[in-house]
Subunit: 406 residues, 3 copies
């Protein structure tokens, strides 16, 4: 036997993170189909193109700028150095973290659907994935000496307990959702979404595609959360079980509070999964069930308030779903992670609350600045003519079902 | 190097079962799309909701009642105890076995599609996944001291050779299919399915979605079967190859006997996979090919007899597919697992036949009792008005393609 | 602890190749949906049936003839011998390599779509997967003593450096694409595709399904490439990162040169992935980015030339996509794998160019001979009547959306 223990360990580690990266990559297909199903037929092609090309540009900027910012590593060395002596573990580590960074533009995409220009959004996405997200990332996970030890920045105000952060509730989802909110507000609602101050709901096009998107996300999420251990030796069955329980809490709570509405049920599963990420490694499964259930209730109720009362046309509800449920997840980790509630302990409610709120404020401000500047300079909204025609025809010169359109 | 061999082994084990659980979870998306494609457009939303919410309720009852019944374990202890010293292996073990339990209501769902009430079916599914299935499970895999050693109950009548049971042909598929049969009979056919005693076939809505469902099932099935080793050290390439060969046997046999019918070919693959589960670890690949081929022939022919001759409106053919092909698989393991036919041996035809038939009888009786009681008490069938309107609009207040319905 | 290091290593190895096989198997679902979306509605069922049944027949012939030819191994021994002492590693090795062999008919399927007879194509596919492909395979990877050492055949003309070949650019994709070219030419264009010498583009039916196909392929491709190590201890994070970068190069280049065309963007990702396979283990990620970008430009431009100038009705563009981008990948490995361009070195431009061109010539000739013989003997094209009716109704007696067709 020529293979040594270290080789097998390194190999298993590379496989572990690769599988995580593949699962989160497949979640982007999920985000694409969730949007395809939730928009009108005239915007389905645009949804598909946005997610795939956002992925492309995010990869470039994160490779060249973002990852080096967050982790102080450069890829501009020969391939032999990149491989290192651990079979290229650092390279799949990049891939895995990229799949998180690329969620930011993909989350925003669902909020601004059907009326945003293509290229300004690509620019915004590149700024978020290349600069803003890596900055957040470096604060909680990073090892860039300029930015200090991972997770340590909050300890001074919490008496030593750091901001606890397992997977992406706060850095990925809440940041994405809270960046999207100003974008949606600045962009304004779709034409005829509100008529003379009255709400005029725009029907979604395709429930099976919406459900397919949700399924892809639900399955991939176990990669998102479990592989956030970032090392196979750190794998935890508790993370898997808590993810499951929060998803189920979200499904059942959404079923009940929405009156058996298929779109809320499929998004409720996601709300639960978004909220569980942060504390999935420290909560009790029954705590996770509650966290997920509350997240779904937040989503269902707040989506109604956002779109019907505040008249913010957030097409996929990304602010209540990713933004607020993500913030709730960051805070909930400080509650349900405590030993008193059956958790593993070692978490501080204060640290979680301060960290989660700080993240949302920063995200909102960054989103506002970027989209305001883009709006004033190049404009972020399609012309009325192009919006009526639909982004598929006006941007991509093709319908989603070309044969049918004949 | 700080990581020990035991840590790597435990970690690999957790990963192994997690992947299995994720694959079988993704099979539920497959069951959802198989049903979406096989029902009319007015029942597609209902199919999607049923599978996802059945999953939710099954998780709850299996967590609280079912798994403790089958394995004598409780989750009502602090998270630190749940984690144990094997990185939470028991928790992913629960997740993996849950994905099997949740197949029971998902299988039934396809048979009773388009005319069943929502909540009575949720109750029935919870009873099956929370009580009935765990009872079966405990007989063949369980370690509950009250119910005796796994697999040992049949040895007394077979002279020492236990009921051989690798993956879910009998306990999952045949139990699901044979529970579904009385449900379908008690429920009665869809309106206008049979007119004045004559068959009036109802057309399926969407072959691509049906095929997508089949593909998700086919791919995930390798997780279903291979990860049934339940321990990475027990992994067997033979199980993978036999699953492949049985699937191919099912595809080709269905192609030939159905006259190149797309629905039978995509279901034939599933028939082969259902039948191979039990003996996938002991048969020769050519034996598996035959077992899968026979399963597909059984499905094609029996579905015709069931729906055209016996006039039982089993929409997705879950009784011939899961029920009878599953029973065939349990028995076939006793034939093709023998050394005489190139198998590994150690199986008894008598044990397999008696065990498989006992399971179907028990399943049929349980299904009959539960559905009869529900039918008499709360009623299990939609009103004629609601059925004509379709479950999507009558239960969920939405169509599958809302924009189109305008 | 009863499990030994060797057991864990063997088990991890079986899992590794099994996952690879499952991912590439899922890519066949991708090929199916790519074709479903790219053809007219009247040919969607045919696309689904072709891919799944091609898989079935390929498995049989590769099991009985192909794999033994390529690797000198027979499966006609008892199951106990098949299992061996490595938990059946050889059996998942077969499964993994089968998933590659089965790509050949699946690739051709997209070129000849909408007007080819069913059974002649099954025969052709069986010949390619059972005899032609294994012959190529044995030349570059095989261990059949009759055919010499893997990869060594070119060393005599290149001064010692063998043909470098990591994953399937040449043997799978270019062979598939270059076999398809004569098939498409012999078959002739679809009716009314060219009218009086003028091009009359036939619209695709369903962009979301086309995109779903592309996503399934993109995700699975990381299994295709990374698991081509064929041994977990050989896993390389560089292969994963290079695959990612080439895909992204393909996405962005296709976006730019196609003018934001959704079909080219989703196929551009595939062009990048096809081209990167061969040299994915030796190139620098920035080299891979360029290789993928060039591949997408080749695809977009050559598809136009092929279908508009040369008037070859290659429905999915499989010749420029798999054939030419694959050949480019084989050659590019000899350029971007060099140390001068940041690669790991050890590659010869001459060996790559000669090997890649030799493969395409052989593939073209084999394809020409097989399809010419079939055309002259049994005929490969549907009658005009059947083509107008569409293969779904004329071959499979069913439409893709039967309820709608009422």
């Amino acid at each position: 036997m020529e293979v040594t223990f270290n080789q097998l360990f390194n190999s298993s580690n590379v496989l572990f993170l690769l599988l995580g990266a593949m699962y989160v990559f497949s979640m982007h297909a999920g985000l694409a189909f969730l949007e395809v199903g939730s928009v009108r037929k005239k915007s389905q092609v645009n949804a598909l193109v946005k997610i795939l090309t956002d992925w492309g540009f995010t990869t470039l900027v994160y490779f060249i700028i973002g990852y080096p910012i967050a982790y102080g590593i450069s890829f501009l060395v020969p391939a032999s150095e990149l491989l290192g002596d651990n079979q290229g573990f650092d390279l799949v580590h990049f891939f895995f973290l990229l799949t998180f960074a690329a969620c930011i533009p993909a989350i925003i995409s669902g909020g601004i659907a059907e009326r945003a220009k293509y290229w300004p959004q690509i620019i915004a996405g590149a700024i978020f994935a290349g600069i803003v997200y890596p900055f957040f990332e470096s604060l909680v996970w990073g090892q860039n000496p300029l930015l200090g030890q991972a997770g340590s920045w909050l300890t001074t105000i919490t008496g030593g307990i750091p901001f606890h952060y397992y997977a992406g509730s706060v850095v990925v989802h809440s940041v994405g959702g809270w960046i999207a909110l100003p974008a949606v507000i600045i962009l304004g609602p779709r034409l005829k979404r509100y008529v003379n101050g009255a709400s005029n709901a725009i029907k979604v096009s395709n429930i099976p595609f919406l459900a397919l998107g949700s399924w892809l996300l639900c399955v991939g999420w176990f990669g998102f959360n479990v592989m956030s251990a970032q090392d196979i030796a750190g794998i935890s069955g508790l993370v898997a079980l808590n993810s499951l329980m929060a998803m189920v809490g979200g499904i059942i709570a959404a079923l009940i509070v929405s009156g058996n509405d298929v779109t809320f049920i499929h998004n409720g599963a996601l709300a639960g999964l978004i909220a569980v990420c942060s504390g999935s490694d420290v909560m009790h499964p029954l705590g996770a069930l509650v966290v997920g259930g509350v997240a779904a209730v937040i989503f269902v109720k707040l989506f109604h308030i956002e779109t019907e009362v505040l008249k913010i046309d957030d097409v996929l509800g990304v602010w209540p779903l990713h933004g607020v449920a993500g913030t709730w997840g960051g805070i909930a980790c400080g509650i349900f992670g405590s030993k008193a509630l059956g958790g593993l302990g070692g978490v501080s409610f204060l640290a979680q609350a301060v960290g989660s709120v700080a993240a949302l404020v920063l995200a909102f401000v960054c989103g506002f600045v970027v989209y305001k500047v883009l709006d004033v300079t190049v404009g972020i909204r399609l012309s009325e003519h192009d919006e009526i025609m639909g982004p598929d025809l006006s941007i991509h010169k093709i319908e989603a079902y070309p044969e049918e359109a004949l």
